[in-house]
């Protein structure tokens, strides 16, 4: 999936190396892709996830139509005229993802938003091989009879 995302970003942003940082997170904030090597990717993911959950709930209780009833998805922008964050959500095979764009010194934010919308449209077509990543379904147990010793061994890696 990472390669597919990278390819699409290059298609839509061929000459903008270093100008923007892009991130893709799973619904719970798990990092899926980033062109930033920062240690903060996990923190950004969980804050994006929490913010978007809060905003979705805010939309619901405000009485606005849910985005499920709209042709166009809601998106979140926390930005000045040239610097900020854009968060869009998209779905791949019934799983929700967040696409985050961090930009600075942007001269044409309207055009940037428009390009991101096209990119999001393409991202939603990426296929995710089911054999590689699966959301757990209610079938059989992955582990049986885990012993206390096995759990202690796991924790020993923490220095506990």
């Amino acid at each position: 999936m990472k390669r597919g995302i990278e390819k699409l970003i290059k298609k839509h942003f061929p000459l903008t190396s270093g100008s923007y940082f892009f991130y893709v997170f799973g619904e719970e904030g798990i990092p899926v892709y980033s062109n930033s090597n920062s240690d903060d990717n996990q923190s950004i993911g969980v804050l994006v996830s929490g913010s978007m959950k809060a905003l979705e709930h805010l939309v619901q209780i405000s009485g606005l139509p849910s985005q499920k009833n709209q042709d166009e998805e809601f998106r979140f922008s926390y930005a000045t005229s040239d610097t900020g964050l854009l968060i869009n959500d998209f779905k791949v095979e019934d799983r929700n993802y967040f696409f985050v764009t961090k930009f600075t010194k942007e001269k044409n934010p309207g055009k940037l938003r428009s390009k991101i919308r096209l990119l999001i449209f393409d991202l939603a077509t990426i296929s995710l091989p089911k054999s590689k990543v699966e959301k757990n379904k209610d079938t059989k147990q992955l582990f049986t009879n885990i012993t206390d010793k096995e759990v202690d061994n796991m924790f020993s890696s923490l220095g506990i």
């Binding site: 996990q42 969980v46 959950k53 709930h57 757990n136 379904k137 992955l142 582990f143 759990v151």
Partner: protein
């Protein structure tokens, strides 16, 4: 939320510390953060009010080593305990794989414990969970304070579904890892293959 990536052999799970305000939820994950070696933990995130009360959640990502060839990553969250933040608690509970209910052992906090536990049951039902099936452990915190409720009374009043329970003094770390190990084991045993 649990995701099993068979290609990379990684497991991600979400644990939530739930309970009444000032019961010690944040103290639990702060202690875990302090005692965990640097490579295995990410940054702790706390969305607090100015007086350090949890506003939305605390978050700590923790790599817990391998089990049977799978790397495990646990995402530890706390909910805001204050009654006012019910909507935020519901959001944090979404996609939860395991819950640690942190009760305050002081006599004067029993009503708050009961109210919080009833809130947990209600919120789980609203999100389609069955409290008798979701991994859950209880932690009787603040056992070092005077005027505490006997554990038998806490068990009888709060632990009606008879899940594992641990006494704790989270400020000193007593019981913190015992509780975390217990919920970790139950959550891992509850994972399904999806095949």
């Amino acid at each position: 939320m649990s995701f099993v990536n068979y290609q990379t052999r990684e497991i991600n799970c979400k644990l939530v510390y739930y309970g009444p305000g000032l019961g010690g939820k944040t103290t639990n994950i702060q202690y875990i953060y302090q005692k965990t070696s640097g490579d295995n933990k990410g940054k702790i995130i706390s969305l607090n009010t100015e007086n350090e009360r949890t506003l939305f959640f605390d978050f700590l990502p923790l790599d817990l080593g391998e089990i049977r060839g799978f790397k495990t990553r646990f995402h530890l969250y706390t909910v805001p305990g204050q009654v006012f933040y019910e909507a935020s608690r519901r959001l944090v509970l979404r996609g939860v794989d395991g819950i640690i209910f942190v009760a305050d052992s002081q006599v004067e906090r029993m009503e708050a414990n009961i109210e919080s536990f009833n809130g947990l049951k209600k919120n789980l039902i609203e999100q389609g969970y069955d409290i008798t099936k979701i991994p859950l452990v209880m932690q009787w915190n603040k056992r070092d304070l005077p005027n505490i409720i006997p554990t038998e009374d806490l068990e009888r009043t709060l632990n009606t579904i008879d899940v594992p329970a641990f006494e704790a003094v989270a400020t000193d770390g007593e019981g913190v890892f015992e509780t975390l190990k217990s919920i970790t084991k139950i959550v891992l045993m509850n994972l399904k293959t999806g095949s």
